[in-house]
Every structure is written in structure tokens, then in C-alpha cells.
Symmetry: C2
Subunit: 203 residues, 2 copies
DNA sequence: TATCAAGGCTACTGAGCATTAGCCTTCCAG
DNA sequence: CTGGAAGGCTAATGCTCAGTAGCCTTGATA
């Protein structure tokens, strides 16, 4: 887990203004999309003009990349934390899905942008983000495979089951609202149970 | 069902070139996104220059709107067809979900663009599309409510269950490939069964 | 054969955009 | 009190677009 510790502990420190800019950009990217968001708008959201952003940030593209990479780090971290030290494979899957869903409520903007704007990254950056996402997807699939191998899970297709679980999380990021009438815990626990029935977990 | 008949029978006839342009635009919108797609590219895809598009199409925005509206019509149609004449509520739900998922494989580009590019529609057009989508979502939710009322389904939250089912379809549109190793029927039937376990359908 | 519509094309318009240049103020360190 | 860095600003640069104007070819019709 030294990798995720690094991500947790050594996440680069941003100046307060830098943080504000990134937050504003995140909100705008989520709302209007990356291409449709102008540097003027991002600036306005933190009370400065567009060109002044460049005193804090190297480019709009880097802003997007940083947002996505940070989010992927957090996602890996919460997954690792959720399954660490848990032996039973069904428990591990349930906890992994709970962490997955909770991430998508707590960081819904990051998740939303991360899913929708990969296309807006240029080639090289996209490759990095896609690789990191695939590595996460493999973790979930490996859990299901393990349960199947142990005859604890029974699925028609491991791939299909893992897609389904991952997609449910992404869906949450699209519709969840903090002030909605579904509480975070309600969603998390319900989806955790969905996951187990979905893989046909015995007992 | 006269509404959906209208949609099926009276879908406006497009010239072959018009069709080709719409298809090309759909593919490009799905690949690069609406904002990132230029009229020059759409033109090139059908062998003409960007400005010549305007001999067939009134604007890029209208192209997007037409794609989305047509897709929503088809989705409503396949739903209506799937549940028509089926009495048992569990059967109706399963068939509705199967139709939902099949739509998202057969029309994955339309579904993909329809979900991701609503933001790119201007205010008025967006309102129309959103309304039509909500009406579809209500159909699914009503099915679940009906099963719950009849004590055939048992869910923690109707809303959550319907979100989950709808999101699974959207997920399919994101990863399904005709030449992938999961067949359309395999996905459709598996998700149909998912749906029933997910709503805790008895028998 | 003359006409005309359909459907191409190039050139142009007008707008918007990310980013850079270069200037000015503020404020802290020496 | 002075020098310089930090962080604003306006103006300008260079590019990319959607959409329009207006011209030309083709081919069917009358």
C-alpha cells in the first residue's frame, strides 16, 4: 500500500488560489463541459480575469489533467482502504462496491468530469488517465474472479458483472445530489447489497 | 400507442445525402464530442466541403437535435412494443429492461451522444429532449411501483432501483462493441435477470 | 435547345478562444 | 526606503469556427 500512501500523503500542496481555481474549473467543467468552458469564466469564478489565471496554472489542459489524476489517486486509495485486512471475498466485494459508490457521491463532480471528458485530454495525457482507470477496473474484476474461483459467486460473465458494478457507480455520479432525498448511506448500502445479489453470492 | 405509431410511421424521410450526413455527424459527435466536431470534418466524412453541408442541413445544432429526438422516439417505441399485451408485471419489467438494454446496444452511438451531449443543446432544445427523456424514465419507474404495490417486488427505494436499471443501459452504450466477445443477446438476457433480482422479484 | 433547380465550390465574415507580452501596483525582506 | 517578486491588469496575437455570399456545373424538363 505504499503507492496509495504516497498518493494520500504526498498529494502536491496547492496555494489557496490554486485550489480555488481548480475547484472553480471542476465545477464549470462538470456543468458546461471542458470545451465549452472558457478561461474567462474560470477566472470570473475566482474574481480575476482570464489571463491572470496563468500566474497560477500552466494551461487549461493541465487543469483538467490534474483534476483527473487526483481523482484517480483518491479512488485507488479508498478502494485499497476498503478491502485492506478483510478476508471473506464477499465482504471484500461488498466493501469495494460501497467504497466505489461512496466515492461517486463524495466526489461526484470529479467522477463526472473524469468519465465525460477523457476525450478532451490530448493523446499523451489521455493514455495516462486511461491506464490508471483500467488498473482500477481490473481490481474490481479480480475480486469477482476470485469469488467465482472459490465458488462463492455465480455469474454468467465476470466481465459483464464487473461492467455492471462499475457502471452503477458512474450512474450515481450523474444523478446524486447532496440535498436530494436519497442519503449517501442509503445509496451506498443498497448498492452494496445489489452487488452481492448481482454476482449470485451465496450466504 | 398512436403516439409511438406516429413516431414509427411518420419519421421524416431524409434524402440519401441527408442520411449520410446525419450518420457521419453521429459517428463524429460520439467520437470527439459535439463541440470538438467541425462542420469541415462532417463534410469530409461524406466527401464534400463544410459549407456545402448547408445545402442539406440548417445548422450543426439542428443536426444534434434531430439525432437526439429520433433516438428518443425509437426508445419510446421499443419500450411500448416490449410491454404491449404482457400482463405479468415481472414479465413486463424484464421485457422492458431487455428492450432498454437492446436499444443501448443497437443504437449505442445515438444513446451515447444523447446522454453526453445534452449540455450542447441550447436552452429550448434541451428542454424538449429532457422532457422526453423524463417521460421514458417515468415509464420504468411506474413499472417498479406497480410491482411493489402488488407485492411482487421488494425494494429499499423505487427511485434507486429505477436509477440503477436506467444507468445499466447507459453503461452498455459506453462499452458495447458489435465485435466484442459479449453478444447482444447474452447482455440483454443477463441484464433482464439482473433487473428481476435487483427488484427482489418473487418467483 | 433553353431554363432552372440542385448541389457543389471558394472566399469571406464575424466572432470567440487560449495564450503571451508587457505594464503596474502592492508588499515584504534587507 | 528600496528592490524585487507576486499577482493583478489590458492589449494584442494567432488561430479556429459556424455560417453566408455568390459563383459554377450538371442534368432533367419543357
Amino acid at each position: 500500500m505504499s503507492g496509495s500512501d504516497r498518493a494520500v500523503l504526498a498529494r502536491p500542496q496547492l496555494s489557496p488560489r490554486g485550489r480555488a481555481i481548480r475547484d472553480a474549473a471542476l465545477k464549470l467543467f462538470a456543468e458546461r463541459g471542458y470545451e465549452a468552458t472558457t478561461t474567462t469564466e474560470i477566472g470570473a469564478a475566482v474574481g480575476i480575469r482570464g489571463p491572470s489565471l496563468y500566474k497560477h496554472v500552466s494551461s487549461k489542459q493541465d487543469l483538467l489533467l490534474a483534476i483527473m489524476l487526483d481523482a484517480m489517486d483518491v479512488l485507488h486509495d479508498v478502494h485499497a482502504l476498503a478491502v485492506a485486512g478483510v478476508d471473506d471475498v464477499a465482504d471484500r466485494l461488498r466493501r469495494a462496491v460501497e467504497a466505489h459508490v461512496r466515492f461517486h457521491t463524495r466526489h461526484r463532480l470529479e467522477a463526472f468530469v473524469g468519465n465525460r471528458e477523457i476525450r478532451s485530454l490530448d493523446e499523451a495525457n489521455r493514455a495516462v488517465v486511461v491506464a490508471r482507470r483500467s488498473s482500477y477496473e481490473r481490481l474490481i474484476r479480480a475480486l469477482i474472479e476470485e469469488g467465482v474461483a472459490a465458488s462463492r459467486f455465480h455469474v454468467a460473465s465476470v466481465k459483464l458483472a464487473s461492467y455492471a458494478l462499475l457502471d452503477l457507480g458512474m450512474g450515481v455520479a450523474a444523478w446524486y445530489r447532496e440535498d436530494g432525498d436519497l442519503s449517501e448511506d442509503e445509496i451506498v448500502y443498497t448498492y452494496g447489497r445489489f452487488a452481492l445479489t448481482l454476482v449470485g453470492a451465496a450466504g
